[in-house]
Symmetry: C2
Subunit: 401 residues, 2 copies
């Protein structure tokens, strides 16, 4: 039972997330894979900066050649950004028969096709779940649906930063520029936000999905890539009054002129699942012939969601010893929401004075937040009550808080 030896290229947020998750989930991985997973090398830009990360038995280097020439290297995890040197690094790895897993969407949008072809020739694998929507298993779900279904159309929110900005503009009523600046100050947008707010990042992800679903890149002639700079506070306010919300959407379908990929701000109605997708969330809606439309939603970026996607790819490569999932050790989450709605049923609605009331609808219903719901139920056996799930910030006129 030999180890699975891994090298990580790049030691920023994603690289560190993978490194940490491989350690924290070591026993889990051993159970699933039937062998240990070991980080044997890390490629960094600056040795001094990462000196404190140095560990016994782990090669810390700025020289990729040292990594690629290691004996018994099984998987290279690409956690660097930009087309180069990522593409060249991964080509060399595949040439040597080393599996690769990448989170680098720009590189994979441009060179994914060649890398996949090279991998097939060499009998190794390229994992790219982390290139689209972070930890939300979009790639794997599409692969599964595709085995049987024809995919007719994809609509998706694939950039957390632009979605965060559009959501914040609605909630705070501020201008695009002010919201962007606040997002930058709080770490939700980069110093140079072009990639996110102009739709390049979302477009790269659209290209990755296009190649996966249709086997080809989008037609460049008909590609639309519009950013969200033109969305004013006034537009957002008008939209809100009409019951609509702005979202920065990637649309993908195959027409007579090849695959059409459009990245642009659109308005979403209250009846559409994307209406609710606020903040840095990602969401994907996949329209198919047999199943109909399936939606996935979750955190599209971040250290651990992305690390999870990369670890899943590593497991795929190494083929679990059992196809049945090994069941998890107990780790409970017994915390329960403590918001409740009580209906009076034409009786007087009298609750203990120390209960926090969130809202009241005349004398018909009351929304409370409490950890002592059992006490209220015992003391008021004739009230009907239901648990309330989700954040609750209600402010209609009929409500007295």
């Amino acid at each position: 039972m030999s180890d699975l030896n891994i090298a990580i290229l790049g030691f920023g947020t994603v690289g560190k997330g993978v490194h940490h998750s491989l350690k924290s989930h070591q026993s889990r991985l051993e159970k699933v894979l039937g062998k240990s997973v070991r980080v044997v090398a890390i490629l960094v830009k600056n040795l001094e900066k990462h000196e404190q990360s140095r560990e016994d038995g782990v090669l810390l280097t700025t020289n990729y050649e040292e990594i690629i020439n290691l004996h018994d290297l099984d998987v290279i995890v690409d956690a660097i950004i930009g087309c180069e040197p990522g593409n060249s690094y991964l080509q060399k790895a595949l040439e040597k028969g080393i599996h690769v897993v990448t989170a680098n969407k720009e590189m994979f949008a441009h060179h994914g096709e060649e890398l996949l072809a090279l991998a097939q020739k060499k009998g190794v694998t390229v994992g790219f779940e982390a290139t689209v929507a972070g930890g939300v298993p979009v790639i794997q779900t599409i692969k599964q649906l595709l085995q049987v279904n024809r995919i007719q159309k994809v609509e998706a929110i694939l950039n957390g930063t632009s979605n965060f900005i559009l959501s914040s503009m609605r909630k705070d009523g501020h201008s695009f520029e002010a919201t962007l600046q606040a997002a930058q100050e709080n770490g939700y947008a980069e110093a140079d936000p072009t990639n996110d707010i102009e739709g390049y990042d979302a477009f790269y992800k659209g290209v990755v999905l296009s190649q996966l679903i249709f086997g080809e890149k989008p037609n460049e002639q008909s590609t639309i890539r519009k950013g969200i700079r033109e969305i004013t506070a006034d537009y957002v306010e008008c939209a809100d009054e009409l019951g609509l919300r702005f979202r920065h959407i990637v649309t993908l379908f195959k027409g007579n002129d090849g695959v059409q990929c459009r990245v642009e701000p659109v308005l979403i109605s209250m009846e559409h699942p994307f209406y609710q997708v606020d903040g840095v969330q990602n969401a994907v809606s996949i329209k198919t012939d047999l199943v109909g439309t399936v939606q996935l939603q979750g955190p599209g970026a971040g250290m651990y969601p992305t690390a999870s996607a990369i670890l899943e790819d590593i497991i795929q490569i190494s083929r679990p010893v059992s196809t049945e999932p090994a069941y998890l050790e107990y780790q409970g989450d017994a915390s329960s929401s403590s918001k409740w709605v009580f209906f009076s049923n034409n009786r007087k609605l009298e609750l203990p004075y120390d209960i926090k009331v969130l809202a009241r609808l005349s004398d018909k219903a009351v929304v409370v937040e409490t950890e002592e719901v059992e006490r209220i139920i015992l003391e008021h056996p004739l009230l009907t009550f239901f648990e309330l799930i989700g954040d609750y910030r209600h402010t209609t006129e009929k409500v007295i808080v």
Copy 2:
């Protein structure tokens, strides 16, 4: 290259859906599997009723022994309902080394553990994707997430009928009984609706998920299974005024006393993704340690969604020739939504008289439905416009339709 020989048990909606989909997707399956998939036998209750389905080379029988004794049978698809005879049939199949795929949640909730253990002993597989949420790939997604993530909690809408009734009550304002009767007349609820509206069906699915995620059944002592009969039109109206919607929810988590499974009506706030999940849709929210919370949503039942889940299981059993998805033949969906919002930017909002106006916000913005958006744009180059996605039925006072 031998064929993959399949027998279908039961020829109702699910059985027919599988039969039809295997035919309509024959070339697709051959491409993915590298062999033909052939239905060789169908088990029916009443031979006369299905006489017109008789085909050359396909055994149509009421006698399971004839099926189980066929030579070269690879997979048995279980599309019958209830614990028996399903369980005995599948036990016999597994004993003989035949793979099984089931859509029977009640049977699988009760006997899944034994069937999986028997399958492992015999070196064959039990596919059960179709037992939970129809074509929404919940089982596969959980298996994938579980490889790396600890799953802490699941909240889900798993019964289309009860969700349809609760949504209709809100939309139409009718009583529970009137809504149920209309649902029965329109085929959305069965003549005996107990299984759906009392939460038995949702509970069976909760049990299947509990075994998959935690490796054990829910603790019977702490199980809650409440139906939706007690929800009155008055409650629904009050909830709506408070910005809340009723949903029939399955909650699953592991506490100190084992797995807790609760099926009950709860209220959902506007900020929660389930707020939007109307009609016969299913939705599952999976809270994990690394990825965070991932949501899936889609059609939870129906002939083709369920058939798709069964076909995916058949493919899993037969292991595709290539792990890369074979790309799909072209089948485009060039239809695009034809709803648009135009902002006036302080100019006069004058649109061609023949354009259908859905809503107008004083002289600031107008919502239109048209197939000639290019013409409007050409004729009104100074207007800003965005596409509108989702149904749109807006009725605020500020809107003149």
